[in-house]
């Protein structure tokens, strides 16, 4: 069974682009009437984030709501999406099959323009295993799927799936990548699921990026996470 968590900030118009038929929780910070209307039309459960602007908190909140209302099996899959990263391509057989075939715990979806593809050779429509133990690993949270058993392992090890102290832009997914590597969870980067938009390579231009990275490094050191040389 696949479940979907979408975090959205003013992206009501994108919600309808997500594939139908997947139980979905949409977490909004600063929601508008349009957000609630779209959810009611699409049958999504709408959750208002307890605090604006913290992507980690929003994802954790969505996961918490899911786990509150549903008994998940270890093999069940939870997808996480940013609100404007809807799939423009996905396999007919579903992502569950992809995870099974490749023996993966985590499946990282690529975007239409994706900086990771300059370092990782992924054939069209295919999936390749990737290492997520480096500081700048390919674990991007714009769209990915994770087995519930893997989620449980991470939460047992560190309390929550995403680190809520990383409240600036970026790095919360990189940290999750490091944890997955530490817990020997297998990740794959796939072009079988392709998301709308462009990702990666422009973080240097963001204001305050150094400060985000410093938060990240401080937590990596605090949590004693080993760093691979990739």
């Amino acid at each position: 069974m696949v479940y979907r968590i979408i975090i959205s900030h003013g992206q009501a118009s994108s919600l309808a682009h997500f594939p139908v038929g997947v139980p979905t929780i949409a977490v909004f910070d600063a929601p508008t009437d349009a957000d609630f209307y779209m959810c009611s039309e699409l049958g999504y459960e709408a959750v208002v984030s307890p605090r604006e602007g913290n992507r980690s908190l929003n994802r954790n909140t969505g996961l918490e709501r899911l786990l509150d209302g549903t008994m998940l099996a270890p093999d069940d899959i939870v997808e996480f999406y940013d609100g404007d990263r809807y799939p423009v391509h996905q396999p007919l057989e579903g992502i569950g099959k992809l995870l099974d075939v490749e023996g993966l715990d985590v499946l990282l979806y690529t975007c239409e323009e994706d900086a990771r593809l300059e370092r990782h050779s992924v054939p069209l429509f295919r999936t390749v295993p990737v290492l997520t133990g480096g500081l700048c690993n390919p674990f991007y949270s714009c769209g990915f799927a994770m087995r519930y058993s893997a989620i449980q392992k991470v939460m047992a090890a560190r309390g929550s799936l995403f680190e809520e102290r990383l409240d600036r832009w970026g790095c919360e997914d990189q940290l999750l990548g490091l944890w997955c590597a530490r817990l020997e969870l297998q990740s794959g980067l796939t072009r079988a699921v392709v998301l709308h938009g462009k990702v990666g390579g422009d973080s240097q231009q963001r204001e305050g990026y150094r400060e985000s990275l410093q938060q990240y490094i401080d937590i990596v050191r605090e949590q004693g996470l080993p760093i691979d040389i990739c």
Binding site: A115, R116, E118, R119, G134, L135, C136, G170, C171, Q174, G200, G201, D202, S203, Q204, Q205, Y209, R210, L213, Q214, I217, D218, V220, R221, I227, D228, I229, C230
Partner: protein, 533 residues
């Protein structure tokens, strides 16, 4: 705190307690002031110190209510940064200048009853080193004179109330002036290469004969002045002027001042179609009937810009175009008196400007192995660096100057474990081109090492990493913004294949000429990691 009724030292001091806010002092509206220099304080102090030729701000703050000298102890020191409001009118020609150094700030050397503890703003805890800026913010609705300009001070003043500078001594470092009033007596700051002045506007200060504008710039100035829009939020060394509709008071004077400093100020224009043009100074002249030069002409190719003394900028081109924006006003420092067209590079470390060209020279020299030495950039706890550099300059006569200092060496032994560093590389160039003509750009850049940051130390010799290439070999590469090719980690002493590791300039045609790139990195567990996300 002192018990001086005229001192008004208290927290939560509001601007409305002192004066009526108006357009000239809007900047000060929301500030809390640590100290206020009131008119009564000044009047009483002057009455007790009849022979004073200058007013020591620290002594004023420490003075007793009757104006006699007061005392201050280390325990009473207020830690910088502090804000001081000058509520006394000291703008007149006969008013005494203010001294902001002697009794005001304790730098960590011998304590002499100073009022403010500024030790954190002096890297080595000693007045012999540069003070970072922002140590003391000075606000006023009046102009005043400053005796002994020193680093670490921000003077928030409007053009209607400029600061005029006298004297020659003081600390090195960064000084920010909202408005800098030039003085007919001039200021001889020859040799003050360690002082870096960032000011928003130049205006005629006290004592200027308005009919002779050049009287303000006859002295042998020898310090770098950067004209920055810092009071209104824009960082860096750019000032924007919209052409042809608006006039910018002070632009003419800024150019005059820059020329008098022996520099060659360049105006960069971003056109409507994304083309970039850098105008070179052609002439400074007088219009018919004028007593002093009142026209400055810039030209590039078939286009000219004319700047009038009142700040009006007129574009004269072969074809009529849309309004354009001038966004760069670069001053290249070449030393006192000499007019050369070889630009200098500049480096900002945590906002502090490294001014000594000899110091800069060491940054581009690879540290040797074995013994400790001075070459390379020592970062320590300074996490942010902005490296403003240039590729090549072409004189109007066609002579080319090519920058050979293209590699910045970062000392690995100076890096703090776990501290994320950021180096912003800003590359300027003096060519007129369109972004799509990347081959043309490259053909003008002679072969040689690309721009880059190299990590090296006396105890190791790490491979050069992150070479910066601007442009690229094709137009598609030229427009790339991706930094993903520098997404790597490596261990010391390992060889790094740098053939594919490039840091490209920013995407977008309008920014191709002033290409920028950022490198973030951290030293962790014995390895150096470049951080790209």
């Amino acid at each position: 705190m002192k018990d001086n009724a005229n001192q008004d030292i208290r927290t939560g001091y509001g601007v409305n307690d002192v004066f009526v806010p108006n357009a000239a002092n809007q900047l000060a509206r929301t500030n809390h002031y640590d100290f206020v220099i009131t008119q009564e304080m000044v009047d009483n102090y002057v009455a007790q110190h009849g022979s004073a030729t200058a007013l020591d701000v620290g002594a004023l703050i420490a003075s007793n209510a009757d104006g006699t000298d007061g005392t201050w102890t280390l325990a009473e020191c207020v830690a910088a940064p502090v804000s001081i409001y000058i509520a006394a009118d000291l703008s007149g020609d006969s008013a005494l200048p203010l001294i902001f150094t002697q009794r005001l700030v304790w730098t960590g050397s011998t304590y002499n009853s100073q009022v403010v503890d500024g030790r954190a703003f002096f890297p080595s805890g000693s007045a012999s080193r540069s003070a970072t800026d922002g140590m003391v913010n000075v606000y006023t609705q009046y102009g005043f004179k400053v005796s002994n300009l020193a680093g670490g001070f921000n003077f928030w003043t409007a053009p209607q109330a400029p600061i005029t500078v006298l004297g020659t001594s003081g600390w090195d470092g960064v000084v920010r002036l909202g408005a800098y009033g030039t003085d007919s007596t001039g200021i001889d700051l020859a040799g003050r290469t360690g002082l870096h002045i960032i000011c928003e506007q130049l205006v005629a200060g006290a004592g200027i004969d308005s009919t002779v504008q050049q009287g303000a710039i006859t002295s042998a100035y020898d310090f770098p002045v950067v004209y920055a829009d810092w009071m209104h939020g824009a960082e860096g060394s750019t000032v924007s002027y919209a052409v042809p509709a608006s006039a910018k008071p002070g632009l003419f004077q800024q150019i005059q001042q820059s020329v008098a400093l022996g520099t060659d100020p360049v105006l960069t224009e971003y056109g409507e179609a994304g083309e970039v043009t850098r105008y070179r100074l052609e002439s400074i002249s007088k219009s018919a009937g004028a007593l002093a030069p009142d026209r400055i002409i810039y030209s590039c190719g078939g286009k000219t810009l004319e700047i009038a003394a009142d700040g009006t900028v007129t574009r004269k081109a072969s074809t009529q175009g849309e309004p354009i924006v001038i966004t760069d006003f670069d001053c290249y420092m070449n030393g006192s008196g000499a007019t050369q067209l070889t630009p200098k590079q500049s480096l900002f470390i945590d906002g502090t400007f490294v001014t000594d060209s000899d110091e800069l020279g060491k940054l581009y020299t690879q540290p040797g192995a074995g013994t400790a030495e001075e070459n390379g950039l020592f970062l320590g706890n300074h996490a942010k660096v902005k490296w403003v550099t240039w590729s090549q300059e072409t004189e109007s006569g066609g002579t080319e100057h090519v920058n050979s200092n293209t590699t910045l060496f970062v000392r690995t032994d100076s890096l703090v474990e776990g501290l994320v560093y950021e180096i912003e590389i800003v590359i300027t160039s003096c060519m007129t081109h369109t972004p799509s003509a990347s081959e043309a750009m490259l053909s003008q850049r002679p072969s040689g090492p690309p721009f880059g940051v190299s990590f090296a130390g006396p105890d190791n010799n790490w491979a050069t990493v992150v070479p910066y290439r601007w442009g690229g070999t094709s137009s598609s590469q030229a427009s790339r913004a991706s930094l993903s090719k520098v997404m790597f980690n490596f261990e010391r002493d390992s060889a790094v294949d740098t053939s594919e590791d490039f840091v490209y300039g920013r995407e977008g045609g309008t920014l191709m000429q002033l290409a920028t790139a950022k490198l973030t990195f951290v030293k962790l567990n014995g390895s150096l990691h470049a951080l790209v996300y």
